[in-house]
């Protein structure tokens, strides 16, 4: 008797866990993590390049810059590699020959990749907090009169900014996965992933062009780009704030909803595309 096979979170979790396990065994990703950690821990030695910014602000910017740069590189290459390794090594044949929905495969991959990005952001954020706390304590020792001015660093801000970076990387992973779902090569996926990253960072230009008006074609194109691609500038809220200022939580919540919306759409399209794919 054939019973109905419904979408299973259990199978999705299994695929996600296997994706994390595979990523953990890849030396390259470990190397990227170590490199990022080294940059954060060594940020104080780069303070001569602060361009006039206060030292603690510079350290925080340095940490989030490392998180954004290495995180993007990690997420794009890991998404392409972990997806195509299943296709090229034909493990996807035995996996999809079991009663597994293709949606479970795509969502499992996404959750696994988001988890990897989460571990990366958590480690870098914790290291950054350690670097900031250590320098703040040293400054307070050197300038005890400044202790009356209150805390130099809002650590909740640093955590919020880390969460936003993670959400940005999750959106990037979802978009790269969407490309991988129909791409024929890993290289195409990686290159397109980086294009999406650049477009996402420059997306505000399209929004400006759309708002300014102009020809219908120009408005149409800029409107399309402004809608189809996420605005990654929104996730860099910490950039516009001094380290000691409080980040409004509702702003973080709005950006999180914005990220979840894009993740939902990108993963949904990836499922539709992957269902059509002939393996």
């Amino acid at each position: 008797m054939m019973t109905r096979v419904t979408f299973s979170l259990r199978r999705t979790r299994l695929i996600a866990f296997n994706t994390v396990r595979e990523a953990a065994r890849q030396k390259l990703y470990g190397f990227v993590g170590v490199l990022a950690a080294a940059f954060v821990l060594g940020a104080r030695s780069l303070r001569d390049f602060n361009f006039g910014a206060p030292e603690l602000k510079f350290l925080a910017d340095c940490g989030f810059g490392v998180m954004a740069f290495f995180g993007a590189a990690l997420v794009i290459t890991a998404t392409a590699q972990l997806f195509f390794s299943e296709i090229e090594n034909r493990t996807v044949l035995t996996l999809l020959a079991k009663p597994v929905w293709r949606a479970e495969f795509i969502l499992g991959k996404f959750i696994g990749l988001a988890f990897v990005a989460g571990v990366f952001c958590t480690v870098v954020t914790l290291l950054l907090i350690q670097v900031l706390a250590s320098r703040e304590a040293q400054l307070l020792r050197d300038f005890p009169e400044a202790s009356g001015l209150g805390a130099f660093v809002s650590y909740s801000n640093v955590i919020f900014a880390g969460v936003l970076q993670w959400l940005k990387l999750a959106v990037l992973a979802a978009f790269t996965l969407l490309v991988a779902s129909f791409a024929q090569t890993q290289l195409f996926t990686v290159v397109t992933g980086f294009f999406i990253l650049v477009i996402g960072h420059l997306q505000y230009l399209a929004q400006d062009a759309y708002a300014r008006g102009g020809s219908w074609l120009g408005r149409g194109m800029s409107g399309l780009i402004a809608t189809a691609f996420p605005n990654f500038q929104l996730f860099a809220l910490a950039d516009g704030l001094n380290v000691g200022e409080a980040l409004p939580w509702w702003h973080v919540a709005r950006v999180a909803l914005y990220a979840l919306g894009y993740i939902g759409v990108a993963c949904g399209l990836a499922v539709v595309s992957f269902r059509q794919r002939e393996i």
Partner: protein, 290 residues
């Protein structure tokens, strides 16, 4: 529900009707027909051989049965359920040609992973994983990483993952390719034991001797078309001829026998010493030591 049960009882394990698969090639989208109006019916409990040269459409047919490729036209059903439905794959176990598994997993972890995907969990999961690992003879190596496995061990762990979720139909694509005769014999024995358990097996192999030994029926494909289909016994047997096996006769007695047969209107067409099969000699020498 009752209708489903009834359909299940009367449905063959596998039924392909007018199955066609075209691939587009090149920028101009020229069609390459990989499978051409294929009709096949595999009854439950049979071991069925799918034969053909490279590029004859065997693997494409298997991928359509597994729902990995959508047919261009025609129907493909597994126990009465369209192969494009996920439900059909609950009843199917698949061993791909030259299987590559997650090499960083141990054999036990791998089988457990596929068992959980197949819907097993709890106490039944651990018991079933241990059981199938024992069935394929890999208990001693179960906690070693897959990357340390030999080709024969990979095929056997592949078989374990294929059977772990109790499928009724097994699809084995070249299960003995690249495996030494001892390993191939072990896999053959496993296939026969699965048949004894009532499983249906669809097997492709270039080792026609092996196919002849274990298959009930075979289909021969060429360029995507079905060239020949039938029971192995009927295809290879000659109902109008018999071979008698006796100890070697002296020449005089052989002459007497020939005369006796001729006196009754028969002809002794051939006298030859039977040959032992080389694979059997190999197994007798090596297999026993193992």
């Amino acid at each position: 529900m009752a209708t489903e049960q009834h359909a299940d009882r009367v449905s063959p394990a596998l039924e392909l009707r007018g199955l066609i698969k075209d691939f587009s090639t090149g920028l101009r989208g020229l069609k390459l027909r990989a499978v051409d109006r294929l009709d096949l019916r595999v009854e439950a409990g049979q071991v069925y051989g799918l034969l053909g040269p490279n590029g004859s459409g065997k693997s494409t047919t298997i991928k359509m049965i597994l729902g990995l490729l959508a047919p261009t036209a025609g129907h493909c059903e597994v126990f009465g359920v369209a192969s494009t439905c996920v439900e059909a794959r609950r009843e199917v176990g698949y061993l791909p040609e030259s299987p590559y598994f997650y090499r960083y997993l141990t054999g036990r972890e791998l089988v457990r992973f596929y068992a959980e995907l197949g819907g097993l969990h709890g106490k039944a999961l651990a018991e079933r994983v241990a059981e199938v690992i024992a069935t394929v003879g890999l208990t001693a190596a179960a906690d070693r990483r897959i990357e340390t496995y030999s080709k024969g061990m990979l095929q056997r762990i592949g078989l374990a993952q294929a059977i772990v979720h109790h499928p009724r139909l097994l699809i084995l694509d070249e299960p003995t390719a690249g495996v030494d005769p001892v390993g191939a014999a072990a896999i053959t024995e496993l296939i026969l034991s699965l048949k004894a358990q009532g499983k249906t097996v669809l097997i492709t192999s270039h080792l026609l001797g092996q196919i002849e030994d274990i298959c009930d029926r075979v289909a021969i494909l060429d360029r995507g078309r079905l060239m020949l289909e039938g029971a192995v016994r009927e295809l290879v047997g000659r109902a109008d001829r018999q071979a008698l096996l006796v100890p070697t006769l002296p020449a005089a007695e052989l002459q007497e026998l020939r005369a006796w047969l001729e006196s009754r209107g028969h002809t002794l067409e051939m006298v030859a010493a039977p040959k032992a099969r080389l694979d059997q000699i190999f197994l007798d020498c090596v297999g026993k030591k193992k």
